[in-house]
Amino acid sequence: MTNLLLDAEQLYAELRNGVGRLMTPDTILVGIWSGGAWLAQRLNADLKTDRPMGTISSTLHRDDFGERGLGAVEATTSLPFEIDDARILLIDDVIASGRTIRAVVNELFDYGRPASVELAVMVDRGGRELPVAPVFAAAKLTLPASQRLSLARGHDGRFTFAVKETT
């Protein structure tokens, strides 16, 4: 594991500012399990919206199910609001290939027909394999495909980034 100079707390502050600008009176935040769900939770509190937020999991729509199996069972979708005609802003920690977003959008549409779906992320690490683009990314960087970047949340609720070699 290498120590990358990514200050997750500073990136969070930028994400908060960016999301704050994107918010309309009827925007609902939906965090992608797990890192994005933590972010959306904190954003919803920090931005003092009085709206519900949701969490969403890609597990049931993943295109690599055959290789990976089911994965974490604690990853569940919870959308405690009306999806039909909702304006949804998806939140995730990292975007790379875009396959998670594809799966999550499918998952979302199992619950209804939102008016619009947008995406904001903390880090866009490139390597897109699908036509998916965030409307806001707090940082853009290029990482070798062998490195896995993931957000961690400490006991005090503070965020850190971890980079792991996958090979």
Binding site: T59, L60, H61, F65, G66, R68, G69, L70, V73, E74, A75, T76, T77, I83, N106, F109, D110, Y111, G112
Partner: protein, 320 residues
């Protein structure tokens, strides 16, 4: 000599067939129950279907009739987007003299990905699992008197749903334990999940003393068996048992081992009553109990679909 590996698990200890609860580690049982929780929420969606088994063919092979179990497997497979083929073998090839393995070889040539097997002979699903191609998964949907693992798992899901934990529970299983694959699967699952007291309740002909070897407390008195129980699992009294010398009559049986409100009052105030169905009202269970506030018989059916979805999707995600 090499130790024989559990045929249900691959080299990484992952589930590739579900043949029996016996011998499965607690972690695997817990994984299935946790996964089932995820699938229960699929019922809350507008689209009650997820694509995990899209493009896979699930063959329901019922060598013995069971409309209910076959239907719940069919619904589970369809909610996972599989193609489901129901074969009522009792009425087809087997009656034409085709052997079990020839039937399987033929269906494999039709590119089956999963067999759900119900058979009157104990061990038939093991035979199929041993002879099918490596990518094919087998689910035992009840074999002879041996096992009915998905029923056992849905019973565990139901207990955990209402009781939150398995420690400190007293579970009474009442009825024809000796012929019941459900009872056997329940006993193995309850033991693995750490239930401290499991009781087998019924007449000596249906609850023989050697059941004690499975670690259960044998009770031939209904009141003693139900007293202070947290969970009462009633088994269906199979009519065919009446014809032999095993039981005098349905009426007599109900008098001694039927679950009435009066008997149930001996259990804990928050006890739940379970039954794998179909229920025989007035034979093993009084209507007031079956329809009463302690009964969780219909939630069991709902949970059963989620549990079967969990089993099939876990199997499909694991390679031999």
């Amino acid at each position: 000599m090499l130790a024989r590996r559990n045929p249900q698990l691959n080299g990484h200890g992952e589930l590739i067939h579900l043949l029996s609860i016996e011998g499965l580690p607690r972690a695997v049982l817990t994984q299935i129950l946790d996964t089932a929780g995820t699938f229960l929420s699929v019922n809350d969606r507008d689209v009650k279907k997820v694509p995990l088994l899209r493009g896979k063919s699930v063959f329901n092979l019922f060598f013995e009739n069971s409309t209910r179990t076959r239907t719940t497997f069919e619904i589970a497979a369809k909610r996972l987007s599989a193609d489901v083929i129901n074969l009522d073998i009792a009425k087809s090839s087997a009656s034409k003299g085709e052997s079990l393995l020839d039937t399987i070889a033929n269906l494999s040539a039709m590119h089956a990905d999963m067999f759900v097997v119900r058979h009157s002979e104990s061990g038939a699903p093991y035979l199929i699992a041993r002879h099918c191609a490596p990518h094919v998964h087998v689910v035992n949907a009840g074999d002879g008197r041996h096992a009915h693992p998905t029923q056992g798992l849905l019973d565990m899901y139901t207990i955990r749903h209402y009781k939150k934990s398995f420690s400190n529970l007293t579970v009474a299983i009442v009825g024809d334990i000796v012929h019941s694959r459900v009872a056997r699967s329940d006993i193995h699952a309850l033991t693995t999940l750490g239930v401290p007291e499991i009781r087998a309740v019924g007449p000596k002909t249906l609850v023989p003393g050697d059941l004690r070897e499975m670690g259960v407390r044998v009770c031939h008195d209904m009141r003693e068996g139900v007293k202070d129980a947290d969970v009462v699992i009633m088994l269906r009294l199979q009519n065919e048992r009446m014809s032999g010398a095993m039981l005098p009559s349905a009426g007599e049986y109900f008098k001694s081992y039927g679950l009435t409100e009066e008997i149930l009052a001996l259990a804990r105030p928050d006890a739940i009553v379970m039954h794998p169905g179909p229920i025989n009202r007035g034979v093993e269970i009084d209507s007031r109990v079956a329809d009463g506030s302690h009964s969780v018989i219909l939630p069991q059916v709902t949970f059963g679909i989620a549990v079967r979805m969990a089993v099939m999707s876990i199997l499909a995600g694991n390679d031999a």
